[in-house]
């Protein structure tokens, strides 16, 4: 008999809590509107729902772009490193020229090359008279930046693999490991620990390079911010927010990579910090 009233009570409580939570969030946003009225610091990305949504989307696009590029560039790096170890000359040459091209030209020019150069060659099918592009500009950005970072990754992985002495691989095959098994269980774990510092460096550069996608109108953080500041005329606030966001993003990545580096460290062989007198 007491069930029905309790359930409705619960529902009421839940509704109240939601309203209260929503209220708190609203209060938080409203504080920035008050800040604007009081001091003129115009952070519309907080109190204006449209701008807030836009900026959040932009931030997420940057994160998405960075994450996708990281994944693809790692893949390209692994494949490239493997191809570079091939016995045939052709794959080795292909990888060599790929690396030289992407290492020694500015990434912006590479982006233009892909978007304007290659993009002009790939024309989309006409739908209703309007040619829809086959590849979106986000995709071009991912392609270009992944190849850019991938070129460095190939070198990093290659140097890591080469650092594993032949004797270790011989020992593995003497124990009965096949080539692939030895690669997976012995070579890669060791090579990876050596690669990690260089890889960290490269990934940080990649996250910073995502801002270049602005040049081909990918709606990432910088592009969205430029829209916002031309609408709301609050350039200083947006620039500072932007800088803080990028620095924070890179900072988080660096932190995660450092923790990973530390976790991967093999215990028992500390650096000789002998305190001899």
């Amino acid at each position: 008999m007491t069930e029905k009233p309790l359930r409705s009570l619960d529902r009421e409580r839940a509704a109240c809590a939601e309203a209260l939570g929503g209220c708190r969030l609203q209060a938080f946003w409203k504080w920035f509107a008050w800040l604007h009225d009081r001091t003129g610091i115009n952070l519309t990305i907080f109190y204006d729902p449209f701008d807030r949504h836009r900026f959040a989307e932009g931030f997420l696009t940057t994160v998405e772009l960075a994450a996708t590029c990281i994944v693809f560039s790692l893949l390209i790096g692994v494949i490239g490193a493997w191809l570079q170890g091939s016995k045939l000359k052709v794959p080795r040459l292909i990888v060599y020229w790929y690396i030289q091209f992407f290492r020694n030209t500015p990434p912006l020019v590479q982006l233009y090359f892909f978007y304007f150069g290659v993009g002009a060659l790939i024309k989309g099918s006409a739908v209703g008279g309007v040619a829809a592009p086959l590849v979106s500009n986000f995709a071009w950005a991912v392609l270009s930046l992944s190849f850019y970072a991938g070129a460095f990754n190939v070198e990093i992985f290659r140097s890591g693999i080469e650092a594993v002495p032949r004797a270790t691989i011989e020992a593995a095959s003497a124990l009965g490991y096949t080539r692939i098994r030895a690669y997976i269980h012995v070579v890669l774990p060791l090579a990876f620990r050596i690669c990690l510092p260089g890889l960290n460096n490269n990934l940080v550069n990649l996250v910073k390079a995502t801002s270049l996608a602005y040049a081909i109108s990918v709606p990432e953080m910088l592009w969205v911010s430029s829209q916002i500041w031309s609408d709301e005329v609050n350039v200083p606030e947006m620039m500072i927010t932007l800088l803080i966001c990028y620095v924070a993003l890179v900072g988080v990545l660096v932190f995660v990579m450092h923790r990973w580096e530390k976790a991967m460290r093999v215990p028992g062989f500390g650096a000789a910090a002998g305190l001899r007198s």
Partner: protein
Amino acid sequence: MSRALKGSGRHLPFTAAIPQGTDLPVLLPAAARAAGRAAAERGFGFILPQLKLQHGIFLVVVFILAAGVAEAQNAATHPSIVATLLKWTPVLFGGFLFNLLISVLAMAFGTAAGVFLGLAQISLLASVRGTARFITHFFRNAPWLVLLFFCMLLLPFQVRILGVTIPLPDWIKATFGLALPVMANVSEIVRGAIQSIPTGQWESAGSLAFTRRQTIWMIILPQCVKRMLPPWMNLYAILAMDTVLASIVGVSEVMTLTGDILAAENNRPELILPFYSYILIWFFLYCYPIARWTVRLERKFAVNM
């Protein structure tokens, strides 16, 4: 030989441990090389380019191919690709020199500021050290393009000093914007070089009663100059290539000029690749000698050290 550790000497700076990439002794030689390079790159904040003559040849080949293909696509009524390129070369070259000017100025300002920032990073006052470190990491973690925008939009279009109004045109603001990451990178180069000087030098200078300032300026920094030169020159090569970023913020340099020229030539698609590879060759011709000189300097200093 005992090493002075942090906090043990009142007047000795932090000891720099050369970072170890791995602690596994079996991997030490190669790993140390890789780790050293990674540390160097981490210290310098960017990946070091390796320009070789083959790349120049490659670019020329691409250029010739592109020009050849474009020529083939060229309608008979239009002048040849080469003629078009030659017609616009003076304008393009002017734009290119402008890029070089921006790079030289940005490097000069950035280096001057960076040296002091780097010295501040090894200051004995924790507040100075912390601030310098924060500024360095802040400007190193921010993308170059964002910093460019920052300066373009937030620097005033003219500034009054001592009653004189100095206009700040776009390209000066872009120069300043490029100088900021240069400053941060130079700061890290300087700090890394100072910390790579063995503590023995600090100890012997200290035991000869040199003040800290004398030690830094007369003994440590002169030895650092050699070590800093190769990464500093690499930084310049990267900066020279990245001046094209200024085209995004509207500065009229070689990339924007190329875009304008292509528009003036009615946006013929066959001209895109020849023009851009033409520009790339110029950049290569400028950066390649710097790269070779850097490699030679590195070799020379490695032997002497």
